[in-house]
């Protein structure tokens, strides 16, 4: 490692922040870092400067598998024709006001 050798990018990590105790973690963005611990420190500095998080997750970006946008229709299709999964599908006798 001489000062003139080219620098490689540090691996990319996705950052998830839990805003408050009891809340789910939400994707906040990404950071570059040499390892997981370093990623946590960078994530704290970049995404939690104003108490935005009580807990952080960092995940190597390469480890995430996502559904593709083309899947949007067919992949989620099984949910489309099952109205009976929702309460509005069911009729309640007229006299019953509060159910």
């Amino acid at each position: 490692m001489t000062p003139n050798s080219p620098e490689r990018s540090w691996p990319l990590w996705e950052v998830f922040t839990q805003g408050r105790d009891g809340e789910p973690h939400q994707h906040a963005g990404s950071v570059h870092a040499t390892d997981a611990e370093h990623a946590l420190q960078n994530a704290r500095d970049v995404y939690a400067r104003r108490n935005e998080a009580v807990n952080l997750w960092v995940v190597p970006s390469a480890a995430i598998t996502a559904s593709t946008p083309e899947d949007m229709g067919p992949f989620f299709d099984p949910a489309n024709d099952k109205a009976y999964r929702h309460p509005q599908f069911y009729k309640v006798p007229k006299g019953v006001k509060v159910f």
């Binding site: 990319l12 963005g29 950071v31 611990e37 970049v46």
Partner: protein, 325 residues
């Protein structure tokens, strides 16, 4: 600006894309997008990220000379926020398949553009007030619009940034207010800073709509929702009341209030100056890039050490694992 090459890419997908833009849907990284949309985003977002990074320099110049510990802590926090803004937006550009390192290198090589406002010097403490108030104030007007940009990662970065910018503007205005209500010399210092920063702040919104080559395309694709002139007008209208409240004046003898529209109409902007600075001949262009270069070079050992440390940790962990087997 022609978009014909994009149509040639795939007419059906292009039509679908335009329909999604028209329906105000958010475009996400893996969605199909015209090559031109992607390249315009990379251009605009990387310039924006570079501006956040270079923007730290004029203010960094005053951290050691802030007049009190309170002001020093505030300025440090603000400058740190700007580093964060740069990172949010670089991270957004990476979702478009660009490596951050590449963009950083372009900046260091002097090939990248950034907001010209940061090529002006910060001569007095009042300049720190004027920057927070006017430069961050103008950035808020621009970024509030960009928070509705059609590209999801860019819009989300803007939402995050906008939440932080109000503090930047407030602390700047507080500095100006304190000076404007101070001794005659302090008030003169505030007025002098306003005189020097007013016109460059108006130029931050870019050329007039009639002379802005990228605007039409950016608006057609919902990356920008308002034109340069609309945003500039909004900024002027918001700011004049604030100028009056602290009993200062803007350096524009032609400024007038238009009853019909309710707008404050500014005099002519010196676009020759604007282009001079954009093309690299502003007061501090080479100083800014020089400062970035030396900071990057001097930080090299820290980055190398981080890599070496992580490598050592990994090999230690491997050894421990082997011993336990």
């Amino acid at each position: 600006m022609s978009t014909t090459p994009s149509v040639a890419e795939d007419p059906a997908r292009y039509a679908q894309f335009e329909a999604r833009i028209a329906a105000d849907q958010s475009i996400e990284p893996k969605d199909w997008m015209p090559e031109r949309y992607r390249s315009q985003l990379v251009r605009m977002m990387s310039q924006h990220a570079h501006s956040e990074v270079v923007g730290m320099l004029p203010e960094g110049n005053w951290i050691t000379r802030a007049p009190s510990l309170r002001r020093k802590m505030i300025l440090l926090a603000k400058v740190q926020d700007e580093a964060g803004h740069g990172l949010y937006i670089y991270c957004g550009t990476e979702t478009l398949g660009v490596d951050r390192q590449e963009l950083v290198q372009q900046l260091l090589d002097g090939k990248a553009k950034y907001s010209s406002i940061f090529n002006y010097p910060t001569l007095t403490w009042a300049d720190i007030g004027a920057i927070g108030w006017l430069v961050d104030g103008a950035a808020i007007v621009n970024q509030t619009m960009l928070a509705k940009a059609s590209y999801g990662p860019y819009a989300r970065a803007m939402v995050r940034i906008c939440k932080e910018e109000n503090f930047h503007k407030r602390q700047g205005y507080e500095i100006m207010t304190t000076l404007a209500r101070g001794t005659a010399a302090q008030k003169a210092m505030a007025q002098d800073a306003l005189n020097r920063w007013w016109w460059p702040s108006l130029m931050m919104f870019g050329p007039h709509d009639s002379a802005s080559s990228n605007s039409d395309e950016l608006m057609k694709w919902g990356i920008k929702r308002k034109s340069n002139d609309e945003l500039r007008q909004r900024f002027i209208n918001l700011t004049i009341a604030q100028v009056k409240a602290i009993d200062l004046t803007v350096p524009d003898p032609d400024l007038r209030y238009d009853d019909a529209t309710g707008n404050w109409i500014a005099g002519p902007i010196d676009w020759d100056e604007f282009w001079r600075v954009v093309k690299g001949n502003g007061p501090c262009n080479s100083e800014r890039i020089g400062a970035r270069r030396s900071a990057h070079a001097e930080g090299r050992w820290v980055r190398d050490a981080a890599v070496a440390f992580a490598e050592k940790q990994r090999s230690n962990n491997r050894e421990t694992a082997e011993r336990q087997q």
